[in-house]
């Protein structure tokens, strides 16, 4: 199919509304066609910008309580007196389950936001003409390059005897804080490793085992006050084994 035809489908693709067979074919095309890939990336970034800008207004605590109470009142009016006996425990259960539900929802959104930002960084970097600022397969070159550029230091693993090679690294930012972005290669695939200072509250919800996100596999963990992310379109097992190498190195 020609690029023009694909470009018409890009909106539906980034909205997750393309039938899966089409989506798979388009995803293959995006790996080969720089123009379409740039268009897709542009759309994803626009979506993300609107999503962030659009979450703007939060209700006040008083108003939340007011609505909650007004719902409770109308229910009480309807109910017979026996309901009052079961109402208290039921309300407790409800409040607890809501609290848990809201918490889980919040965590999910938070995780989703961090991971989409990282997959964007990963894709955007690989699409750029010069993906890395320090080009070296030698960890003893790459690691010192970051000195003075980011406010922390880290250890990189010895890769001899593995299928991974180090391509290089660059400074990156996540939620306004600087970090290291390293690129590894496995066969024909590039894998991004992101290292930031751990800010417990922001990233507490992140999974320690690989999860799938927009057909990327992502793994994340903390160690020695640093938060690591491994992002790539390789299989979950490969993401896991690179993660293990990194964990053992630190």
């Amino acid at each position: 199919m020609a690029c023009d035809a694909w470009q018409e489908k890009l909106d539906a693709y980034v909205d997750g509304e393309l039938p899966s067979s089409d989506a798979a074919t388009l995803a293959r095309h995006l790996r080969e066609c720089a123009a379409c890939a740039a268009e897709a990336l542009d759309r994803v970034q626009m979506k993300r910008a609107v999503a962030m800008a659009g979450k703007r207004y939060e209700p006040s605590a008083q108003f939340r309580e007011k609505v909650r109470q007004s719902l409770g009142k109308s229910r009480r009016r309807e109910g017979a007196w026996v309901w009052r006996i079961v109402a208290l425990p039921a309300t407790l259960v409800l409040v607890l389950s809501l609290a848990v539900g809201l918490y889980v929802d919040h965590e999910k959104t938070q995780r989703h936001r961090v991971y989409s930002e990282l997959t964007d960084l990963h894709v955007a970097t690989l699409a750029s003409a010069s993906p890395v600022d320090v080009i070296s397969t030698d960890r003893h070159t790459v690691k010192p390059w970051f000195q003075g550029k980011i406010p922390f230091s880290f250890n990189l693993p010895e890769l001899q005897g593995t299928d991974f090679t180090l391509v290089g690294g660059r400074v990156t930012y996540l939620a306004q804080s600087p970090g290291a972005h390293l690129i590894y290669r496995l066969r024909q695939h590039e894998i991004s490793v992101f290292i930031f200072q751990d800010r417990g509250d922001e990233t507490a919800a992140l999974a320690s085992s690989p999860i799938s996100m927009l057909s990327f596999n992502v793994e994340s963990w903390t160690k020695n006050g640093l938060r690591y992310f491994v992002v790539g379109d390789v299989g979950a097992q490969d993401v896991e084994s690179l993660s293990k190498l990194l964990r053992d190195a630190g």
Partner: protein, 172 residues
Amino acid sequence: MPAATFEELALPLFDQLYNFAHWLAQDATEAEDLVQETYTKALRGFSSFEIGTNFRAWMFRILRNTFLTSRSGLKSTAFDQEEAEAVASSQPTPEAMLIQQADRETVRQALTEVAAPFREILLLCEVEEMSYEEIAQVLAIPMGTVMSRLYRARKALRSRLLEKIKEGPNGL
């Protein structure tokens, strides 16, 4: 024993509904009135709601209809056909790099300035992450219209954003 109570279904939507209401009304007090009225109406009509159909779309639809019949809602509904057409015929050259550098406040301003039907469909799609089908239910329009309106809305936002970036000073 009912499958789920109204509160169980409705309260988790509170923040989302409020955000959407505030965007529609552009005013905090009016947004509170809208949300309060939405909950009251929805509770009253809950017996007619069919469990298994999309509750979130149902709630957003009630909120939106409440807004449309409100005073400021009536003022805002005139669909700016001219703007839509102007945008559709003057697709700007891709200036992705510029747009990437737009900060959140600039995107917010641009979002405030596009025509109301464009703004609301962008909020439902990007912020609420609704499927095309859910959006069709909320706005009571066919799926085909969802896609074409979304396409024009994105184009409108993009050109508004580019104008803002170029005119500065909040741009770059």
